[in-house]
């Protein structure tokens, strides 16, 4: 006997015959969904999986799927949940999910949602969860957006009919069409918001970059036909102001917008890619996320070098695992150093020099950090130090602390950790009078100790400084700081501030 029998072919033949019938054989579909009339192939695959096997693989598949969806919709509309077994409901809903998106299925699934009578489970799976899956896969408009958003934000009351995790919410959003009239387009704005929400939920996790990349990949996988995801995601990140770490975890931060007739390239690019060639570029046309990504034009003479930098930095960024922003910049600096050394060895001194300039620039940024406290009770001096810091270091946010009360409020208030503290001290201070404590009354050393002992500020570098006419600092507080290995910087009224700038660089580079 010729041994060519397969169970799949048997199901396919049976289904082809029954789906040709008009109206569709609902009774037969019901039988299949409860596992009857299927080939003797065991019980590992669920009936809905056998029904899917029954769909042909060739050109008839689409029409057969539609026909099956119509039959399933008729079955769902004709039966009340209470009158149908859990097995049939489970298999109906999973079949609906697998066939989606189907126009015919959307309405009966919505009706089931609105009836709110579905209960029970099959093989340990809650049938409501199956309904949520079927709804996700059969969306024709954005009417379920509030449901997915509530799941994303984790704010679904326990008694709500449809439950779901943030991952379910994301899935619901990314399968949602842009509108009823554009069913083949993703709802980009909703996806942008959803990814921001995911970033928020992941922000405290060590593996946040990897997890966020998974979510982004899921978005891309849901609409594989779309070819401008890189641009879409950048624009959504900008629009919804994603956190920096999430933005820098995107798969590509280098998007070619246009090649001009001259060969120059107009592009959107991560700013660090441009550091080695920055001085040769015109200022950016547009900036995104506070300048982390810029739109600019790169002249033909630099495109080859640009490609080289992109080939090095983009994979590094896109695979970076450590959670902090600083760690990514440190990794970039390290890579730039490698490139400088390689070019030096190869005799390409000009390129090596460009990399070295980029490293210097990056180190300035890396070492300064982003938040600096200036503990200073003299308004004029506070303005002066603030000016020194902000005009010499990019992207720094300063906080001036003018009094002990303000200092206490910040330290005890659980605020964000600063990256550096500039602490005004008095070169000739005396022990404080009880009940009359001011910053000048030798409070500097006390503050430094408090900062070192506080859970939030422990380890934050502190630079003590004094304002004095005399270049040589003296006094008990000066000696205390020197004993701690923190010799204070002296700012004279005439000084050019170089000593403070250099100290900031030195201290924070060491900390980084």
């Amino acid at each position: 006997m010729e041994d060519t029998y397969t169970n799949t072919e048997a199901v396919r033949a049976a289904m082809a015959a029954r789906l040709r019938e008009d109206p569709p054989a609902l009774e037969q579909l019901h039988e299949w969904l409860r596992g009857h009339d299927l080939p003797p192939a065991g019980h590992t695959l669920e009936p809905y999986q056998w029904i899917l096997r029954g769909l042909p693989l060739g050109p008839d598949r689409f029409s057969r799927e539609t026909r099956l969806a119509e039959a399933l919709a008729a079955l769902l509309s004709a039966s009340q949940e209470q009158a149908v077994s859990e097995e049939v409901l489970y298999n109906s809903l999973m079949l609906a999910a697998a066939l989606g998106p189907q126009k015919a299925l959307s309405a009966p699934l919505r009706e089931m949602l609105h009836r709110e009578t579905l209960t029970g489970q099959w093989r340990g799976v809650e049938l409501r969860q199956c309904l949520a899956d079927a709804l996700m896969e059969n969306q024709l408009d954005r009417s379920l957006e509030p449901v997915w958003n509530a799941m994303l934000e984790g704010r679904i009351p326990a008694d709500r009919f449809l439950q779901g995790t943030p991952d379910n919410g994301l899935r619901g959003v990314l399968l949602m069409p842009k509108s009823e009239t554009e069913p083949d387009q993703p709802a980009l704005d909703a996806i942008g918001r959803a990814l921001k929400e995911m970033a928020k939920r992941l922000s405290e996790r060590q593996d946040r970059r990897a997890r966020f990349r998974e979510a982004v990949q899921e978005v891309k996988n849901a609409h594989p036909q779309r070819v401008i995801w890189d641009l879409d995601l950048i624009l959504q990140a900008h629009e919804y102001n994603w956190p920096l770490w999430a933005f820098e975890s995107l798969p590509r931060l280098y998007v070619l917008l246009e090649t001009l007739p001259s060969g120059a390239r107009r592009l959107m690019v991560w700013k660090y890619i441009l550091y080695p060639i920055r001085e040769c570029l015109d200022s950016a046309t547009r900036v995104f996320l506070g300048g982390t990504l810029v739109e600019t034009t790169v002249p033909t003479t630099l495109t080859e070098f640009l490609d080289e930098i992109v080939a090095v930095l983009e994979p590094l960024r896109a695979s970076h695992q450590l959670p902090s922003d600083k760690s990514l910049r440190a990794a970039v600096a390290h890579e730039l150093q490698q490139q400088a050394a390689c070019n030096q060895l190869a005799g390409a001194r000009d390129l090596a020099h460009r990399y070295e300039l980029a490293i210097e620039q990056l180190y300035d940024e890396l070492s300064v950090g982003r938040r600096i406290w200036i503990v200073e009770d003299d308004r004029d001096q506070a303005a002066r130090v603030d000016e020194i810091v902000t005009s010499n270091f990019e992207g720094v946010k300063t906080t001036i602390i003018p009094s002990e009360r303000a200092f206490r409020r910040l330290v005890d208030g659980g605020v964000d950790k600063p990256d550096l503290v500039l602490l005004r001290i008095s070169p000739h201070s005396r022990p404080p009078n009880e009940g009359n404590v001011t910053i000048r009354s030798r409070a500097g050393i006390r503050y430094a100790r408090e900062l070192a002992e506080n859970d939030v500020t422990r380890g934050v570098p502190v630079i003590p400084y004094a304002v004095s006419d005399n270049q040589v600092l003296e006094g008990p507080e000066i000696r205390d700081f020197e004993a701690l290995g923190m010799p204070p910087v002296c700012l004279t009224p005439q000084s050019d501030n170089t000593s403070l700038i250099e100290r900031i660089k030195e201290v924070t580079q060491r900390a980084a």
Binding site: M1, D3, T4, Y5, T6, N7, T8, A10, G35, H36, D37, L38, P39, P40, A41, G42, H43, T44, L45, E46, Q49, L52, R53, L57, E87, M94, A97, A98, G100, Q121, W122, R123, G124, V125, E126, Q129, C130, D133, M136, E137, Q163, G164, T165, D167, N168, R171, E214, E218
Partner: protein, 341 residues
């Protein structure tokens, strides 16, 4: 010439339907008919329980009775029929000493387990919302392929934990196992052969482009498994991949027929290469248990699990059984050769 039903020549319940299946030209139906006729390990009491699912015998009711009986009295029962007194004759008693078992789990077949776990277990959070065979295969590849051994291990451990939880929500009987020493004859071979050792077949959806299968080998003791039982067709349900074994050796020279002890187990339909000495592994079932992480032995990926045609597999298995039992009796006396030719 009359043929038995469940090994007995009584009222021949369902005889005409079985005859029709044998003559249908449909290899799977023919296999089910032959198994039903010759599986004398289905006790009269179990047969009666089974018959209740098809009070009026017809092609349709008999087909569905296998499925319905299996779901109602085996699959979801905390006390499945195979562990009840009505199946007493098939309960193995030999293995009181420490003996290890081997079980092979196909991860692709655990869809409901992963679906339920998706909501509560981070490891499975990306399980697809439309779990077709294709998307499940892709998901497993994504989670396991080219991943370090430690990642795979923790995935399997999480799977075992979730299988245990699922079992508490709704039993999922039975578990099929072989003796570890028997499995060792296959263990050094590729993962395809692990399935062969347990007689597990997986027909590809699209033979030209089969989905990958991820299979896990578990090793555990008889003590952990509890009672071992020699399986019957009713424990396999509506499944033509099963092949029964005789209950007793036919009578010779006027002697009484000699019963084959249940301790020997059934025999999985081994569709792989011959193992040394024409050996055929034993096959048992037991109640589903919660596997501990220690039970995990190996994991493997199968590119193409095409087991070959059903008729060929059955014919070869029948001949192997005959060779295996040649010193004791002629297998064809129990099930004539035409049943698999």
């Amino acid at each position: 010439m009359p043929e038995p039903v469940f090994g007995r020549y009584g009222d021949l319940w369902g005889d005409q339907v079985l005859r029709d299946w044998q003559d249908s030209g449909n290899e799977a139906l023919r296999a089910m008919a032959v198994n039903t006729r010759y599986d004398g390990r289905v006790t009269p009491a179990r047969e009666a329980a089974f018959r209740a699912f098809a009070p009026q015998v017809s092609d349709k009711t008999l087909r569905n009775a296998f499925k319905d009986y299996f779901e109602a009295r085996v699959r979801h029962e905390r006390n499945p029929d195979f562990l009840e007194p009505l199946n007493q004759e098939n309960i193995a008693t030999l293995y009181r000493r420490p003996v290890s078992l081997a079980r092979v789990v196909i991860l692709n077949g655990l869809v409901p387990v992963y679906q339920a776990a998706r909501q509560t277990n981070e490891v499975f959070r990306r399980f697809p919302t439309r779990p077709t065979e294709e998307t499940v295969g892709d998901w497993l590849d994504n989670e396991l392929r080219d991943r370090p051994e430690a990642t795979r291990r923790s995935f399997v451990e999480a799977t075992l934990q979730e299988m245990g939880r699922a079992r508490l929500r709704q039993p999922f009987q039975p578990a099929w196992a072989t003796l570890w020493d028997h499995f060792l004859l296959y263990a050094s071979l590729t993962p395809e052969h692990w399935l062969e050792a347990l007689g597990i077949t997986w027909e590809a959806r699209d033979p030209g482009n089969p989905e990958p299968l991820w299979v896990v080998v578990l090793k555990y003791s008889v003590g952990e498994a509890g009672t071992l039982v020699r399986p019957t067709q009713l424990d396999a349900g509506w499944n033509a991949a099963h092949f029964p074994t005789p209950k007793e050796l036919p009578a010779k020279n006027g002697e009484r027929p000699m019963e084959l002890p249940a301790d020997r187990g059934g025999h999985p339909v081994d569709y792989g290469p011959d193992v040394p000495g024409d050996f055929i592994p034993a096959e048992f079932i037991h109640a589903e248990i919660t596997h501990s992480p220690d039970h995990f032995h190996r994991i493997g990926r199968i590119e193409d699990a095409q087991p070959g045609g059903l008729a060929t597999r059955r014919r070869v298995h029948h001949l192997r059984l005959r060779k295996f039992y040649v010193k004791e009796f002629d297998m064809f006396d129990w099930m004539p050769s035409h049943c698999t030719e």
